[in-house]
């Protein structure tokens, strides 16, 4: 049972990781790529970390795993905010000019 | 040089050195009876026993003669200087240098150890450097001082090599032991020793072609010249040849080298001397002539030649010192040393004139002066030589020229012409400046008339030291019947008179002829320029100031040295197999390389940082895969910090220049990379002794109470490494702080 859950978590996580990587390649502009890395990347690594916790099952590993996940959840959006803001302020060309782009006026 | 102030002496500083020198003279004089009786006094104490070097001193006829000349003339010169340089602000140094010079010279002639001798030898070089450059604010003084130092220093170094070689050959550096053993002539290193010792002696004694520094040494104040030229410095080389005579002489190499060089120097110098119009320069060349003669005599072996050597050594010292001091008096009294301007000084400077006359006649070799005896002996020695015609011919010509020069330099200014055109009205000098010329002139006369005591006290013991037997000494006498030497003497006077009569036209001719010879003095300047030019050329090539060159040369050397060593010494390489190959680490390694290559190819700084980061992450994955979590974490933290710091710094730094392909750099870097790989492969082919690691694994928990073996190594087994490491980190921070706070920096 533990092994099945571990395997499932790994499979989903690794798949998401690969998709995230692909998204980084495929998506047309930097902000859209960030959707891939921020969300999918965070999820993938969180899932695999939890898989490890399930696999070992000890309290110590669980606490470590939770710490990792919490940290990722806390920092990933902030990182995304920083990068996104930089992209906008430096006027990185965006795919399909957004209709309500109001940041650009300053 | 004119007196500097109206003081007439320098008080205690002036008189103390004189007393010291006089005391030394008295001391040595007191040794005469013992030495005359055939004793040899030796005193020694260990100095550098582990190298077999002793503070050993030897007093025999040869060294006593020199010691008396040095201390005696030294006394008179110091006394003279006290007045000559009265009130000079640097007189204390002058006296110090001159006294040191005197002591060094004494040490040189008394030393009974080759290395000790060399020590004093170099000390005379050094002190004479300071004396020649005494008028240090004049460019010419500085140049000439350097010239003397450099030329004699060069000879000195060759000499040192010769001494060391001699020490090896003889198994000792004790001079008396070497002479007693008398094995050098048969030693394989004999020729080498001879060449090197000659190089030292002949440069110091200013033999042609390394004579040019000596006339330039005239830049020194006149009393220094008197001392340097009469009894000291230049005689050091002569002394050395004489000292080594028993051990080295008699071979064709010795005989012909000294004979030819001595003859050439004597003739060349006397011709040059006649050509000079400056009294001091003229005298300087007569010194060369004397040195040539002495060298020539030392080339021979006969008792006559040795007696002639011993006698002429004394003769020359007496008259040369006297004449230099006379010239000093003339200069001080009239303000000029130009022959053409001088005349009729005899009336106002009677004592000087008298002393000059005595010295000049001795120099001219006229009877009844000691010079005459010396000359007769020279001819006798010449006739006993291996090449009598050459030796005698050279001597006759040289002596005749001396005769003429004596007339021009020492007689004419006093007794002919008038004092009309002089810059100052001549006036007799103080007693201090008269004592020297008078005492020396009179000594030359008295020893000529009564040569017996001199013979007994100094000449015979010197010949004994040179040949090992006092019986070899010839008799010193004014009249020894009509013989060939006497005839040669008469011929010398005749030729001399003719030369004197025609010295003006001769001068012009000489100037023309000698002018066609290569000017070695100017050659010296060219040598220095050349040296400097070559040095600059070389420095500009090597120390080019270009960082890219430095880097390329450094890495090039690294790659070259490693690859050449691999080829030359053979590097064992294991067969390359893919056993245990695993794709994950391979992929990670590829990522590591890809990161590196990205940095290489980009001109975007952020890409470069990202490439670095990638490479770092990949390496930390390698650490992770191979069981090194601590290292992996550290690598990650450091890599991150690198990225952070660079990102901060980049805010103000300029963009990267576009990368361009640099073939040279590519070759070097590939070579470095290849050598690293090869070495590592080779190392990995060797078995690894894991006993240290096993010990750490076993001791970590039981003895060091830690379960993380890496950490236990860091803070316990090898804690001192870690201590140094944190010192590096702390000082890096302090240094960076100082660099950032301590510099304002140009605002850009």
């Amino acid at each position: 049972m533990t092994e099945m859950i571990t395997a499932l978590l790994i499979a989903v996580g690794a798949l998401f990781a690969a998709i995230g990587g692909l998204g980084l390649l495929r998506l047309p502009d930097v902000l859209m790529r960030m959707h891939a890395s921020t969300k999918i990347g965070t999820l993938a690594s969180s899932l695999i970390t939890v898989a490890a916790a399930v696999h070992f099952g000890t309290a110590e590993v669980w606490i470590r795993a939770v710490a990792i996940v919490v940290l990722l959840l806390l920092t990933a959006p902030i990182a995304a905010h920083m990068i996104g803001r930089a992209a906008v302020t430096t006027r990185v060309p965006l795919w399909r000019t957004p209709p309500h782009d109001e940041v650009d006026k300053d | 040089m004119a007196p500097v102030s109206d003081k007439t002496n320098n008080g205690l500083i002036g008189i103390l050195p004189v007393l010291l020198a006089a005391a030394l003279f008295a001391f040595f004089a007191a040794q005469i009876p013992a030495i005359a009786a055939g004793e040899v006094l030796r005193w020694s104490m260990p100095w550098f026993p582990s190298q077999g070097i002793e503070l050993a001193f030897l007093l025999d006829g040869l060294s006593l003669t020199f010691a008396l000349l040095i201390s005696g003339i030294g006394t008179l010169v110091l006394l003279y200087s006290d007045s000559y340089l009265a009130g000079h602000p640097q007189y204390a140094r002058f006296a110090l240098f001159l006294t040191s010079f005197l002591l060094a010279m004494l040490g040189l002639v008394l030393a009974d150890d080759l290395i000790l001798l060399f020590v004093f030898w170099e000390l005379t070089t050094l002190t004479s450097y300071l004396l020649i450059g005494f008028s240090h604010e004049a460019e010419k003084s500085r140049r000439n001082a350097l010239q003397a130092l450099f030329v004699t220093g060069a000879g000195g170094l060759a000499f040192l090599a010769g001494l060391i070689l001699m020490g090896f050959a003889a198994g000792s550096t004790s001079i008396s032991e070497i002479i007693a053993a008398d094995e050098l002539r048969d030693h394989a290193a004999y020729t080498g020793i001879l060449v090197l010792v000659f190089a030292g002696a002949l440069t110091k004694s200013a033999q042609v072609p390394v004579h040019f520094w000596l006339p330039n040494a005239m830049a020194a104040p006149t009393p220094v010249s008197a001392f340097l030229h009469s009894a000291t410095m230049v005689k050091a080389g002569i002394y050395l040849l004489a000292r080594m005579h028993p051990a080295l002489s008699g071979t064709p190499g010795w005989i012909w080298t000294l004979t030819i060089l001595g003859a050439a120097t004597a003739v060349f110098a006397s011709l040059q001397s006649l050509r000079q119009t400056d009294l001091k320069q003229a005298l300087a060349y007569t010194t060369l002539m004397a040195l040539g003669t002495l060298t020539l005599l030392l080339g021979q072996d006969s008792g006559y030649a040795m007696t002639a050597f011993a006698t002429f050594l004394i003769v020359h010292s007496l008259y040369k010192a006297a004449l230099f001091l006379v010239v000093g008096n003339i200069d001080a009294a009239t303000g000029t040393r130009e022959v053409a301007q001088l005349g009729g000084l005899g009336r106002s400077m009677t004592l000087t004139a008298g002393a000059a006359a005595l010295a000049a006649l001795s120099m001219a070799g006229a009877p009844p002066f000691l010079g005459f005896i010396g000359k007769e002996l020279k001819y006798a020695g010449a006739l006993a030589a291996d090449a009598p015609v050459l030796v005698a011919g050279a001597l006759v010509l040289a002596n005749a020229l001396m005769f003429a020069v004596a007339g021009v330099v020492a007689l004419r200014p006093f007794w002919l012409g008038s004092a009309a055109d002089l810059p100052r009205a001549p006036k007799e000098r103080s007693w201090r400046m008269l004592a020297g010329p008078v005492v020396l002139g009179v000594a030359g006369t008295l020893f000529g008339i009564f040569p017996g005591p001199l013979q007994q006290a100094l000449v015979t013991p010197t010949v004994a030291a040179l040949t090992g037997d006092a019986a070899n000494a010839a008799e010193l006498t004014l009249w020894h019947g009509v013989n060939l030497p006497l005839l040669l003497s008469l011929a010398t006077f005749a030729l001399g008179l003719a030369l004197y009569a025609g010295h003006r036209p001769l001068r012009a001719g000489l100037a023309h002829t000698l002018g066609m010879l290569p000017d070695l003095d100017r050659g010296w300047d060219r040598f220095l320029d050349g040296l400097k030019g070559f040095a600059e050329w070389q420095a500009a090539r090597i120390q080019s100031g270009k960082l890219s060159f430095y880097l390329a040369a450094t890495f090039g050397t690294v790659a070259g040295a490693l690859l050449v060593t691999m080829l030359a010494r053979g590097l064992p390489l294991p067969a390359f197999t893919l056993d245990g190959f695993s794709w994950a680490p391979a992929a990670v390694a590829a990522l590591m390389l890809a990161g590196g290559v990205l940095v290489l190819l980009t001109r975007s700084r952020i890409t470069a940082i990202a490439g670095l980061g990638t490479s770092g992450i990949a390496i930390s994955l390698v650490f992770l895969i191979y069981g090194a979590p601590d290292v992996a974490i550290t690598q990650l933290l450091v890599e991150t910090l690198v990225v952070v710091l660079v990102a901060v710094a980049l805010l103000k730094l300029p963009r990267l220049p576009a990368p361009r392909f640099r073939p040279g750099a590519a070759v070097i870097s590939v070579a470095v990379g290849a050598s690293v790989s090869l070495m590592l492969l080779s190392v990995l082919g060797q078995p690894l002794d894991l006993s240290l690691t096993s010990y750490f694994e076993a001791a970590s928990y039981p003895d060091a109470h830690g379960r993380n073996i890496v950490n236990v190594i860091l803070v316990d087994f090898r804690a001192i490494d870690t201590f140094g490491e944190i010192a590096v980190v702390a000082i890096a921070a302090l240094s960076a702080l100082a660099l950032l706070r301590g510099t304002k920096g140009r605002t850009r």
Partner: protein, 119 residues
């Protein structure tokens, strides 16, 4: 796997040296980071590679269970990384200062201490 890493280390070193040879300080510094990494990896690989198995002693045991990775090179590499970081940090600050003081990052244009000889 070690021979493979031997070659990778050489490759990394080559890239690093090429960068350092540019004479431009930023590239030099980047090369320096890579070269330090290569040296660290060389030490690590020299101590032979053992997959997994960090040199830790499990609770209750007195020695590692079974074969673990060679701990000594790890400690050396750790020390070397830290030292390398210290040196790097200083070099970076110096680079920054070179720019603000000398106005260039091209090593060949820095001719204050060793001025061009003009004749």
């Amino acid at each position: 796997m070690e021979p493979f890493f031997a070659i990778a280390v050489g490759g990394l070193a080559a890239a690093a040296v090429y960068l350092m040879l540019s004479g431009e300080l930023l590239r030099y510094i980047f090369g320096l980071v890579l070269l330090s990494n290569a040296a660290n990896l060389a030490i690590f690989v020299s101590g032979r590679l053992t997959p997994g198995a960090p040199p830790l002693i499990p609770e209750g045991a007195y020695a590692p269970a079974g074969t673990v990775a060679n701990a000594l090179p790890q400690a050396l590499v750790l020390t070397a990384i830290v030292i390398g970081f210290g040196l790097f940090a200083f070099a970076l600050v110096l680079t920054f200062r070179a720019w603000t003081t000398l106005g260039t990052l091209e090593g060949d244009d820095m001719r204050v201490a060793e001025p061009k000889v003009t004749k």
